[in-house]
Symmetry: C2
Subunit: 408 residues, 2 copies
């Protein structure tokens, strides 16, 4: 399950401040009891910006503020993030609070408010306590060191158990550019769009319109191909900031290195998406479902997401049970075009169904396979050339425990 | 949450053999370890028949056999049902086995095979062991007594914890007709269609084509309005047999008592649907979500199903947590037309959101309310006159436990 990118280099110990000109920080301001809950990411210069936002009709105030920056202003220099309170369904006061976060951050940095994005994550429907947040914004001090990035990635978490960071480099116009990202996920992760917060930084030189184009190209195959529980949140976004400080020739779809840039962005996005799926609430395992031979790539992804989102498949994986009947049932109700008698299913490398008929296999061998932390199912449809992959996690006692008591 | 039907009378201690001319039985034939696993329902005379079947593209062999009887033959006199093995994804052998069940039952009863329906429920992808089933068919002896009905309703269960039975009577053409039903549900219950087995008997006189019409009228608002885990099974069906022995004037949409008949069928179907939702795997509570003020009834049901199907809402209900943020988030991602600032939400009779803004409420009071075995949420959209209800259950540790170890 390790994807290789021949011309794209994964760089370890790199992070969202590795691209030239970015700084980050995270502190405890007082929304949460003890854990860090306020984070700030800034670029030395106004950056090109792209974003994808939740498709939920109920959108949180900070998301609306950031969407405006991305879609109307087209430049971003900083983003302020809090965890612990989603500032969603908080009415007019919620919008005032989101704007106050934007304004306060802008004043602190001495930049225009419309260059500041805002993101919030946490409980829905509770009013923000703005005093600790405003004080926190005054106090927080972004730095260009690894430590700042680590604190940022910690402060954006909710029920996540680990921070999520990745970075890749590529040579564009003979210059090394870096694309790095951090994310929070956990509950409420679903397709369309992958409901989470994800912040990607790069020093590549690219106009916002083309950055948006590149992000759109990779989103469906990465962030929109993961699911934890099928719920789509009110707050979630992927924001990419590109500050151009690597000084490459500005990237456009006709630039010879365009596809290399897209591939690099894809690698970052896919890493983050898989980390989010793997760290789903209560999860013990990453599930990867690959579908080949569908009519189209879209249908392949539709099926892969249907399987990876099935509560019955998810609980079977938790129980290390090679219950392929649930896999084929989820393929069946996905809505995709298929011939029941042409379906082949593999669990790991073991074929369990061939052309719709059960194949004898060693339950013991599959039990050993399913006990691994990452499991893969392959579905072959023999209908066309469409292919797609989706990622998810198992459904466990801990998912129920976490979500039965979240607010308490 | 008790629905009243002014002209339709719920009759207690009545069951699928209460309509004139029906007999039923259930026995242990040996598919399961100990529990009853083979059931037979017969009518004295060939009955008009209607059915709705799973929308899953993968359909089990017995379902295909029964669909043929309903749609091609249009009459049914008996239905043979086994639990413990779904006979799904079992290839050509599976179809042979389903036909053997049909054939053996027909021979035993001395009727044409095409008058016999077949239904199976249980594990997917395991070959049937036909020897005990064939022996069981020879042995099983349907009777017109309550006991036969009880044994039938027990023998069709899988992980259900209770049998599900209901019956209503109505006066049509001055004659009492009875409509009765039994069902099994539990896991894999989802909308479109409600994935379960449900058998409804009536002594009303009605042609199959009109019976199908009546069933179609009630299905969306009953069986298709429940969800346990969003999974749609390969085997599931609702079959109605009407043997005409009440000797009313044949019912058609122009008959003066047509709407009374539909109402009675609706009452039976709704009771069964709610019983299935309440007995969802691991469930401790029935959740009812009523949506009013949507653009259309369809959109209202779409929203109600979105809320009742949300894993985050379901776990919050299990935890007795008045986490309305998850309710409004599920309203938001339902895909229905809405204005976030016009949404009002009630938990029981307590308003928690009014026109999109949070309302202060007593957490303590709602905790008491949410500890009840049946809880209701009301969502008011103020967009139109569309209304709809959906039912579901909470998501608990037991759901995970049951499904992590189902085949083991």
């Amino acid at each position: 399950m390790i994807t290789t990118y021949p011309t794209v280099k994964r760089i370890s110990r790199k992070n969202i401040v590795s691209p030239i000109g970015f700084k980050a920080a995270g502190i405890h301001c007082g929304i949460k009891h003890k854990k860090n809950d306020l984070a700030l990411l800034i670029s030395e210069v106004p950056a090109s910006v792209a974003g994808v936002f939740t498709t939920n009709a109920i959108k949180a105030a900070p998301l609306l503020v950031t969407k405006e920056v991305v879609q109307q202003v087209g430049k971003m220099q900083a983003i302020i993030v809090n965890s612990g309170n989603a500032n969603a369904c908080t009415g007019q006061q919620g919008m005032k609070d989101a704007l106050l976060m934007q304004q306060t951050t802008a004043e602190k940095l001495g930049i225009a408010p419309e260059l500041v994005g805002v993101a919030s994550t946490g409980v829905i429907g509770e009013m923000m306590q703005m005093e600790p947040i405003v004080k926190g914004i005054h106090k927080i001090q972004p730095i260009a060191e690894l430590e700042g990035s680590i604190l940022f990635s910690q402060a954006i978490l909710t029920t996540d158990t680990v921070t999520k960071n990745t970075a890749y480099s590529a040579i564009i116009d003979g210059k090394e550019i870096i694309i790095a990202g951090t994310a929070k996920g956990s509950g409420m992760i679903a397709p369309n769009m992958a409901t989470m917060l994800s912040f990607i930084t790069t020093d590549a030189n690219i106009e916002s319109v083309h950055l948006q184009e590149a992000l759109k190209l990779v989103t469906d195959k990465t962030f929109n191909s993961i699911t934890v529980d099928g719920d789509t949140s009110t707050n979630d976004m992927v924001v990419v900031m590109a500050n151009g400080m690597a000084e490459n020739e500005s990237l456009t779809p006709t630039h010879p290195d365009w596809s290399l840039f897209v591939k690099t962005l894809h690698a970052v996005s896919q890493d983050l998406a898989k980390m989010i799926a793997k760290d789903g609430e209560g999860a013990t395992k990453l599930i990867e479902v690959e579908v080949v031979g569908a009519i189209t790539d879209e249908e392949a992804r539709m099926i892969a997401k249907s399987v990876v989102g099935s509560p019955l498949v998810k609980t079977a994986v938790f129980g290390c049970d090679a219950n392929w009947g649930r896999i084929i049932a989820a393929v069946g109700y996905s809505g995709a075009t298929l011939d029941p008698n042409a379906i082949t299913i593999k669990i790991g490398t073991t074929t369990v169904v061939e052309n719709g008929e059960p194949i004898l296999f060693s339950e013991q061998q599959l039990l050993v396979y399913l006990k691994q932390p990452e499991v893969k199912f392959t579905v072959e449809l023999h209908q066309g050339n469409g292919q797609g992959i989706a990622w998810g996690c198992d459904l466990t006692y801990d998912y129920v425990q976490i979500n039965a008591t979240y607010r308490s």
